[in-house]
């Protein structure tokens, strides 16, 4: 199935239990030779900060506010993402099993 990446950006994702996880903000890909494979999806407001390359601006603020939790990104490996309905992406696992990066 072919999916338009640009339309997937900003789509809300729910986990296996139907709980809201956040929005897809970034796709981590790996280029090897002529192909380009999707490794994982970054979800959450802070993934947006990463996408805008705005961490130099946001991090000091977050640090000053001691709001560590605000700055977190879910890194969802491709195997865990169910895109069979591109308008309503779902995780195959629960949000609690997700890996936080940073």
């Amino acid at each position: 199935m072919d999916i338009n990446v640009e339309l997937l950006v900003g789509t809300k994702v729910r986990d296996a239990n139907g709980e809201s996880v956040g929005r897809i903000e970034e796709f981590l890909v790996e280029r090897d030779g002529n192909s380009c494979r999707v490794v994982s999806y970054l979800i959450g407001a802070s993934a947006l900060v990463d996408r805008l390359a705005a961490w130099t601006l946001v991090r000091p603020v977050v640090r000053a506010l001691h709001a560590r939790k605000l700055y977190s990104v879910y890194d969802v490996p491709w195997q865990e993402m169910d895109l069979s309905d591109p308008a309503r992406p779902k995780l195959r696992i629960s949000v609690n099993d997700l890996r936080h990066v940073k």
Binding site: D2, L7, L83
Partner: protein, 124 residues
């Protein structure tokens, strides 16, 4: 590599470093259990307007069918043509052959060349 930050909306240039628009969209192929792959780069009006609102995308497709250089569907460039991704996305293609410059050429031929002093689009 970050696909959205580093590829989407970046400017593309062809072999001769001729500007050929921005990466308007990307097609991802998702299989049953295989790793998703990025297969094509999309260029063109309908693709970008669709990002604003589906209705604008449809409107743009309809208008493009009535006026200007008519073409079926968006311009698609296979990912295998991507050479390097730096300041621009460099593609191993000839811009004119891909259809990315259809509008540029159409406006040059139908409007600009008809105004005195506009020069010729094909001249070196």
């Amino acid at each position: 590599m970050h696909l959205i930050r580093d590829v989407l909306d970046k400017k593309m240039v062809d072999r001769e470093h001729c500007d050929m628009g921005r990466v308007c969209g990307l097609v991802m192929h998702v299989g049953e259990s295989s790793q998703p792959r990025i297969t094509h780069i999309l260029i063109g009006g309908p693709t970008v307007w669709m990002r604003l609102h589906p209705a604008l995308g449809r409107l743009s497709t309809r208008l493009a069918g009535m006026w200007g250089p008519r073409r079926e569907g968006a311009v698609k460039i296979p990912w295998s043509r991507v050479e390097t991704i730096g300041r621009d996305v460099k593609l191993d293609v000839e811009a004119r052959d891909t259809g990315a410059l259809d509008w540029e050429i159409w406006i040059a031929k139908h409007i600009i060349e008809r105004i005195p002093g506009g020069g010729s689009e094909e001249a070196e």
